[in-house]
């Protein structure tokens, strides 16, 4: 181990990595403005900040995906300037990207070993058996019991996230960068991941952990570095921070609470005023089934209701929403909207009837990555701006809609409307998809992991927005892996397990334990 050269920021003297004055600009916009901090060997540093603060950019520089405009990185006392991801791998750095970097047309094992396939002896051929066996071990370590020769395209978002983690484990890394690893993981998988992380820490692996779930950061990290607008605005040992302090450092103002007050459905007194019969059935689902995915799902979403859908990964929550929106087939069951039976489910017709659905895969299903922010925002509502008969677009009304919605979702002010969404930070991309649907002012809103990657400040406002929609008579169905979020946001929570609805709790009965038990299923002893 190299002797320490410097211990400005940290009290420990065995630093592994240090950033000095890192700067990076995209198209003339400075994204990192002289970032400096140090990561101690064997330590775990939490990196937090608003969406677009520059966290991923910094990690991309460390991982060799990007080169800084200025500044230096020191790794184990010697200079480190990776020109490509291979350089980073060679120096023992593994990087779990925020936007999962998996190839859906390849198998799980192939994704894991893509650049380091085991060979059968001296032949040029891949040693399939050995590769798959190692993959099984790695998958077991992250808690995924899936055959390693399955194509990644058949995996749900959460499963993919675990594969990405297994991939990072497969290189004997000294330093692992986690960029929001839990966004699609439910409680159980998250716990598994944390257990894994502590095992790795015990082995002396250093980690940088980026997350918007501050509780996790507090729970895991020794030190915290706060980025705001490309600058380090605070750093130090975790115990020197409180949640309030952290949040106010991140967003530059104080945020007193994480969830807005929710007046529960029954207590509302101003029903008449709101102009709708509160609690009238809005979306009725009756006996929806699809072999192997869903079994006999029935529930009712009422006006003004925020309905949560909880469950473990693979419980079929996303599948349910997809079927309701006409994206996947169903073999049985009927769906009624406003009492009227829908003969055929198709996104177009449902959107016309005021239904909206935010999918869990923002990049593959939510965004046109090479289109501009403005075009993405207005994709759903485009017909409203097209004057008949030629559907001539009204530029001014489009523009004002974009202005309006970007303020509502608090899109990073650094980004312009003509910028391709591909170049936005992960959280800001999520805001664009969300904004796209909110512009539609839907009456039924289905949200699959709506706040994936969105920072705490903006989250609060989005929750408020959801409540506001509900108060105006809309029904909201929220799928989330974050139980805090569901309990803070919803009026009622449905729990799914193995493709069936297993529990239905009104707000008054919200109980972590009970939800978790239901989600695990009755044969609890079988679960690890």
């Amino acid at each position: 181990m190299q002797p320490a050269t410097n211990n400005q920021l940290q009290t420990t003297n065995n630093e592994l990595l240090s950033f000095r004055g890192i700067e990076k600009a995209f198209f003339g916009v400075k994204v990192l403005k002289g970032v400096s901090f140090t990561v101690p060997a064997g330590g775990m540093v939490g990196l937090v900040g608003e969406n677009g603060a520059g966290k991923s950019t910094l990690m991309n520089i460390l991982g060799g995906d990007l080169q800084p405009d200025a500044g230096t990185i020191t790794l184990e006392g010697s200079g480190y300037a990776p020109l490509n991801p291979q350089d980073a791998t060679r120096r023992g750095i593994a990087f779990i990207h925020q936007e999962l970097n998996l190839f859906p047309n390849l198998s799980i094992a192939e994704n894991i070993f893509l650049t380091r396939f085991p060979r059968a002896g001296v032949t040029p051929f891949i040693q399939r058996g050995g590769m798959n066996r190692r993959a099984v071990d790695l998958l077991r370590e992250v808690g995924l019991e899936i055959p390693p020769d399955r194509l990644v395209e058949t995996l749900s978002a959460g499963e993919r996230q675990l594969v990405e983690i297994a991939k990072a484990l497969s290189i004997d890394a000294r330093l692992i960068l986690f960029d929001e690893p839990t966004t699609s993981l439910s409680e159980r998988e998250t716990d598994r991941l944390f257990a894994l992380i502590s095992r790795m820490r015990a082995r002396g692996i250093t980690m940088i952990y980026i997350s918007h779930t501050l509780a996790d950061v507090f729970r895991l990290c020794d030190d915290i570095v706060v980025l705001r607008d490309g600058e380090v605005v605070g750093s130090g040992a975790t115990k020197t921070f409180t949640t309030e302090k952290l949040v106010s450092m991140m967003v530059g103002r104080t945020v007193s609470q994480l969830f807005p007050e929710r007046r529960s459905l029954g207590k509302r007194g101003d029903e008449a005023e709101a102009g709708f019969a509160t609690g009238a059935p809005l979306l009725e689902v009756n006996g929806v089934s699809q072999p192997g995915v869903l079994r006999d799902i029935s529930f009712t979403l009422r006006r003004g209701e925020v309905l949560g859908l909880s469950g473990l990964m693979g419980a079929g929550r996303s599948e349910l929403a997809r079927i309701l929106f006409g994206l996947d087939p169903r073999t049985a069951g009927e769906v009624r909207l406003n009492g009227e039976q829908l003969p055929r489910l198709s996104p177009r017709e449902l959107i016309e009837r005021g239904v909206a659905f935010l999918t869990e895969n923002r990049r593959s299903e939510g965004l046109c990555l090479d289109a501009s922010v403005g075009d993405n925002f207005t994709l759903v509502t485009l017909p409203q701006h097209g004057r008949t008969p030629l559907r001539w677009l009204a530029g001014a009304s489009l523009k004002s809609a974009v202005e309006r919605i970007r303020a509502v979702v608090k899109l990073d002010a650094k980004t312009s409307d003509s910028q391709p969404v591909r170049t936005l930070s992960g959280g800001n991309q999520q805001k664009v998809v969300l904004g796209k649907w909110l512009l539609r002012q839907p009456r039924v809103l289905m949200l699959d992991e709506p706040t994936r990657g969105i920072d705490v400040g903006a989250r609060f406002e989005i929750y408020q927005l959801i409540h506001q929609l509900a108060d105006q008579g809309a029904g909201v169905l929220v799928i989330s892996s974050d139980m805090e979020e569901l309990m803070g946001l919803c009026d009622r929570i449905l729990v799914m397990c193995g493709g069936t609805l297993v529990d239905d709790l009104p707000r008054a009965q919200f109980d972590r334990e009970r939800i978790l038990r239901a989600a695990l299923g009755t044969n609890q002893e079988a679960a690890p």
Binding site: F26, F27, G28, V29, F325, L327, P347, R348, L350, I351, E352, F357, T359, S364, E365, G366, L367, C368, L369, D370, A371, D375, T378, L379, V380, L382, P383, H385, G386, L390, R391, W392, L393, G395, V402, E403, R406, A407, K410, L411, A413, K414, T415, S416, D417, S418, Q419, K436
Partner: protein
């Protein structure tokens, strides 16, 4: 309101290299090529030659406009040349001989047939979810074989004068092309249809989930391509005074080449009518100049390849410059 749109993402064109960095590089290259060759190429810069170039360019441009729409949607249409041939012989059969329908009926039939065949392509591609390449390849073979069978290899002569004027009076064909190009341009830039077309090309799944009528719009793009091919067929048939079952057979690669050289992506979601115009102009001027230079055939072919490569390299350098200079 937040401080929205305070920064402009687009590269500034104020710097001295601005012109080189702009998307009008293609046009600039064409002009440059023209100016560079003019002194050595007898007759290049004469008004007659320019009119000549134009006469050749217009039908190509029309087909390429249709191709651009299809390619923006992420597809490809290999059947355009066969649609040209089939509409040519059907139109000519109708307007000549004993049937002898009036020109206007003949032309409208040709256009309707072209649009219909395009729509059929589109419907098959979208409804059965088949790859555009192979569907339009099959329809290329079928329609071309059908046109030749229909005429038993004989081309058809003796078209009415009112029809011939469409292709031979330059102002008429020019006006038709300009109207079409402007309509396509405005449609892409300013209408819901245009935005949808780009969205489909960029991410058809996301577009479908966002309520874009993906099938209808893609089908419409193929119909538009068939229509454009038929319109080009009107001009070509009139220009050559012949309904021919092999009309346009050789120009497929030129059409796709010009569209791609212009900058439209084969993978969809990217393209402009103006770019396509530059691409067609570039290839046509190049071809014309090489011809006037009276080089031997292999020199012409080699030079053509080299110039295309050179232009493409310049363009690649340009786009990297755009990234770096910002």
């Amino acid at each position: 309101m937040t401080a929205a749109a305070t920064t402009n993402h687009k590269p500034q064109t104020k710097n001295p290299l601005g012109w080189f960095l702009s998307e009008y590089l293609g046009l600039g290259l064409t002009v440059l090529l023209f100016l560079a060759l003019a002194p050595f190429t007898p007759g290049l810069a004469t008004s007659n030659n320019l009119l000549n170039i134009l006469g050749y360019l217009l039908p190509l441009l029309i087909v390429a406009i249709g191709m651009t729409l299809v390619m923006i949607s992420g597809g490809i249409d290999l059947s355009v040349t066969s649609i040209i041939a089939l509409t040519s012989v059907v139109g000519a059969k109708l307007m000549t001989g004993d049937a002898g329908v009036p020109t206007i009926v003949g032309v409208l039939t040709m256009l309707a047939l072209g649009a219909g065949l395009g729509a059929l392509n589109g419907a098959v591609i979208t409804l059965l979810r088949l790859p555009a390449f192979i569907v339009t390849l099959a329809s290329m073979m079928f329609l071309s074989g059908f046109a030749i069978w229909l005429t038993q290899s004989k081309s058809i002569y003796g078209l009415p004068g009112s029809f011939l004027a469409l292709g031979q009076r330059l102002p008429i064909s020019l006006a038709l092309t300009v109207v079409l190009a402007l309509a396509a341009h405005l449609m892409l830039r300013r209408t819901v249809f245009g935005r949808w077309l780009y969205a489909i090309g960029q991410n058809a799944t996301a577009a479908h989930i966002s309520g874009v009528p993906v099938r209808a719009i893609s089908t419409a793009a193929y119909a538009a391509s068939g229509f454009c091919a038929a319109l080009a067929s009107v001009l070509l048939t009139a220009r050559l005074e012949t309904g021919s079952p092999v009309l346009g057979r050789e120009i497929l690669l030129d059409i796709i080449g010009a569209t791609v050289v212009g900058g439209t992506s084969l993978f969809g979601g990217k393209g402009k009518i103006a770019w396509t115009f530059f691409g067609v102009l570039f290839l046509t001027v190049l071809d014309n100049a090489l011809n006037l230079l009276s080089l031997s055939q292999f020199s012409i072919t080699i030079t053509k390849g080299a110039v295309i490569l050179f232009a493409a390299v310049l363009d690649a350098v340009r786009s990297r410059f755009v990234v770096r200079s910002s």
